[in-house]
């Protein structure tokens, strides 16, 4: 008898099915991977387990007994613990209080908070993760982002005798962790497995999943397509199951050599903490920007986009002097931008897709620059949506209703709406699933073939090597060197980022 089994789980939002027929069984003492592209239905399934979303139909059994999960409180009582992707901390209060967030504080005499017990119990939870360098009494604000993530994680390991934890649901827990920290987490998860507990593990990092998990359930389009032992499956098979077709190359092949002619010429540019920087970019070329985070990548892109004042230096775009004072100037000059934070910087989630796509070109997509022509606008947006292979119910669908990958395609459609000469990409595939990633790479390739120059900032080294013609390595606020991407090894590039040039 399985610890947890779900059958016939279905859920529709406003008539649009998010889950159609989902079945999932989790045994006691296993780490079970839940795989699938963004939009496959993983989040909805997790929300159902957490009691946050009520399913339309579901047969849920725990230890063979039919059960319902009516509220987050019930989920907690059943022994479910959740580590969410967007799990917030309160910086102003102590580590221990953050760990106890949403739980009942231990009390003395029934009314007073027993701070000693609170701190001790929180300390135990930290220790379970092997964390000894964080004091539970410390204020959250004083911790590094990585340590904050560890504190969030440890809240799931708080011992609660009246509702012992039986299932840990982890959604991208390692997204903000270093390798060492991740390893520490994995050790704890393995210990949980050895103690007979269960883990449902969600991650886009396939290597991690394959190394850690015992079995995997793959979801696609709101349904579970297969469940199997990790030992019996290959990396490629897993990808094929997720995207529903055979996995090909991760990156579309580059076309012929970049077209000639200089698109962008940057001379001695300085802005913010960006120190004097020079480089040039040909039409149709993709220049990658690599470097440790905070080396000046963001400043370079923001300066070229008019969001950060240029302190000195000259920039020439297509032979004409270019000095933007605002993003509006940049768009006018033919420079487009895909920002790093899709939801907070890229999209108006509560507005229709077409309004998102045409926003930067509203002047041209209107009558005399002033009066809206919604039909023509929607036609224009529909064409662009097709160009970026957007999957939606139509141009009037709200951007917020799309999956992460499709949201990013909307951002791309907006960026391409004015046929830009220069496209600035800041982490364009972050949080985007495998299928949509490939689509986005294809879009970028298509555009370069039409002569567009691209600057690609990414912390994903294989992506830089796979997509770029040349890679500029930034260190300490300036470009340290520019190397051809072809034949560059990942280790080599990483070493260059650290400033240790391999022989």
């Amino acid at each position: 008898m399985s610890f947890l089994s779900l059958e016939n789980v279905a859920k529709a939002y406003a008539g649009v099915p998010a889950l159609r027929r989902v079945a999932l069984t989790i045994e006691a003492g296993e780490i079970h991977a839940l795989m699938g592209e963004n939009g496959a239905g993983k989040s909805t399934l997790i929300k159902i387990l957490a009691g946050v979303v009520a399913p339309d139909t579901a047969d849920i059994r725990i230890d063979g007994k039919p059960t319902t999960i009516g509220s987050p409180h019930e989920a907690h009582r059943l022994g479910f613990r959740f580590i969410h992707q967007e799990f917030n901390v309160v910086p102003a209060i102590s580590v221990a209080e953050n760990i106890f967030m949403g739980r009942r504080y231990p009390l003395r005499a029934g009314v007073l908070v027993d701070w000693r017990a609170l701190n001790a119990t929180a300390g135990d939870a930290l220790e379970k993760l092997g964390i000894t360098h964080i004091n539970p009494r410390q204020r959250m604000a004083r911790l590094s982002p990585g340590d904050q993530m560890l504190v969030r994680l440890s809240s799931a390991f708080l011992s609660e005798p009246d509702a012992p934890a039986r299932l840990y649901v982890m959604d991208e827990p390692t997204a903000a962790l270093t390798r060492d920290e991740s390893e520490r987490l994995f050790r704890v998860l393995r210990q949980i497995r050895a103690d007979g507990g269960s883990v449902l593990y969600v991650s886009h990092r396939l290597d991690e999943v394959m190394a850690l998990c015992d079995r995997a359930t793959v979801m696609r389009d709101g349904a579970t397509v297969d469940t199997g032992r990790m030992a019996d499956i290959t990396h490629d098979d897993l990808v094929a199951l997720m995207i529903g077709r055979k996995a090909g190359d991760a990156y579309p092949a580059a076309a012929t050599t970049p077209t000639s002619g200089t698109a962008l010429e940057v001379r001695d540019l300085a802005a913010g903490r960006l120190r004097s920087t020079s480089f040039s970019l040909r039409r149709g070329e993709i220049l990658g920007i690599a470097g440790l985070s905070g080396s000046g990548q963001r400043e370079l892109v923001r300066a070229l986009f008019g969001d950060l004042p240029m302190r000195s230096g000259t920039v020439t775009l297509d032979g004409k002097p270019y000095r933007p004072f605002s993003p509006a100037d940049a768009w006018k000059a033919g420079v487009a931008y895909v920002p790093r934070e899709r939801r907070s910087e890229g999209l108006m989630l509560t507005r229709p897709i077409f309004e998102n796509i045409t926003l930067a070109q509203l002047r041209r997509q209107s009558l005399g620059g002033s009066f809206l022509t919604p039909r023509a606008e929607q036609r224009f947006a529909t064409t662009l949506a097709a160009d970026v292979r957007l999957r939606s119910t139509g141009p009037r669908q709200l951007a917020g209703q799309l999956s992460g990958g499709n949201q990013q395609k909307v951002v791309f459609a907006k960026a391409l709406s004015g046929n830009p000469k220069l496209l600035l990409l800041d982490e364009p595939t972050r949080g985007v699933d495998v299928g949509a990633k490939f689509d986005i790479y294809t879009i970028i390739r298509d555009m370069t073939q039409k002569g567009m120059a691209v600057i690609l900032v990414s912390s994903d080294l294989p992506e830089l090597i796979g997509m770029c013609d040349r890679i500029a390595v930034m260190r300490d606020g300036a470009i340290a060197e520019i190397v051809p991407a072809k034949g560059l090894g990942e280790d080599d590039l990483l070493n260059r980022c650290y400033g240790r040039v391999a022989a």
Partner: protein, 323 residues
Amino acid sequence: MTIATLLRRYGTLIGFALILGFFWFNLPDTFMTARNWLNITQQLSMLMVVAAGMTIVMVMGDFDLSVGSAASLSGIVAGVLFAAGYPIWMTVGVALLGGLVGGAINGVLVSFIGILPFVATLAMLTILSGAAFVLSGGKTISGASIPADFSNFARGGIPLGDIGGVAVMLPNLTIVALVVVFAVWVLLEQTTFGRRLYAIGGNIEAAYLSGVAVRRLKLIAFALTGLSAAAAGLMYASRVASANPTQGSGLMLNAIAAVFLGMTMSEQGVPRILATVIGVLILGVLDNGLTQLSVDSYIRQVLVGAIILLAVAASSFSKRLRR
């Protein structure tokens, strides 16, 4: 379409219909008459104009607390200029310009200096109100200093003929309100300006990065709200044939309430001008109907507050049902 969706979208409208039905049933002879409705539209014209202006800034997710005192001040400016013998066209022009400038100052404070709208417009509320007291010396400007042509405007209208032996006219104030509503509708729903304001309201950072001139648009939007407040102040002064430094103060909260009522009619909780019109009508019909039913004026206030709460609660409750 589920009941929840239906209610989310039409709950407030259904509530409005129920209120109308209730008054119609209880006041069979006087409520649903052309005369009464022309009355209502005239009574609501000032609130309508302020609420229309308020909708413009609320589309961006901001609001303006200074509209009431801006209305008072524009009435006082007009009164002072009238008393000094300036002609009507010049006086009206100066008062409207003053509203535009006051609103633009709000815009500068909010968008260029970066003060929260709550704080900036609260401070402007106090400043404008103080200015109205200073200019008027705290007194009501009335009587002979207000030209008859000015006060007659609020009493005039376009004759619509006789209904039941009584001459009926479309009041000038109603016409002004309709023109303002139409102008704001065109601005918000039919122009790139309006689309950009909605973009700012949707995500200000994304709008800025998409080339929307956020600061300039905010300034213009606040200036337009100030202009509408000044227009309402003049309408008020014309209706009461006088100017008092506090007479617009009731407009601000009612205008915000009307926009909120309207927002309950939108799935995304976005202000729309036509929904604001419904919000204003709900407030006005309650006043009109309950007065005719001789309901105590204090109970009326309690009911109005309760209805706003009910509408907002119903709309957020039905949103939760969707989870």
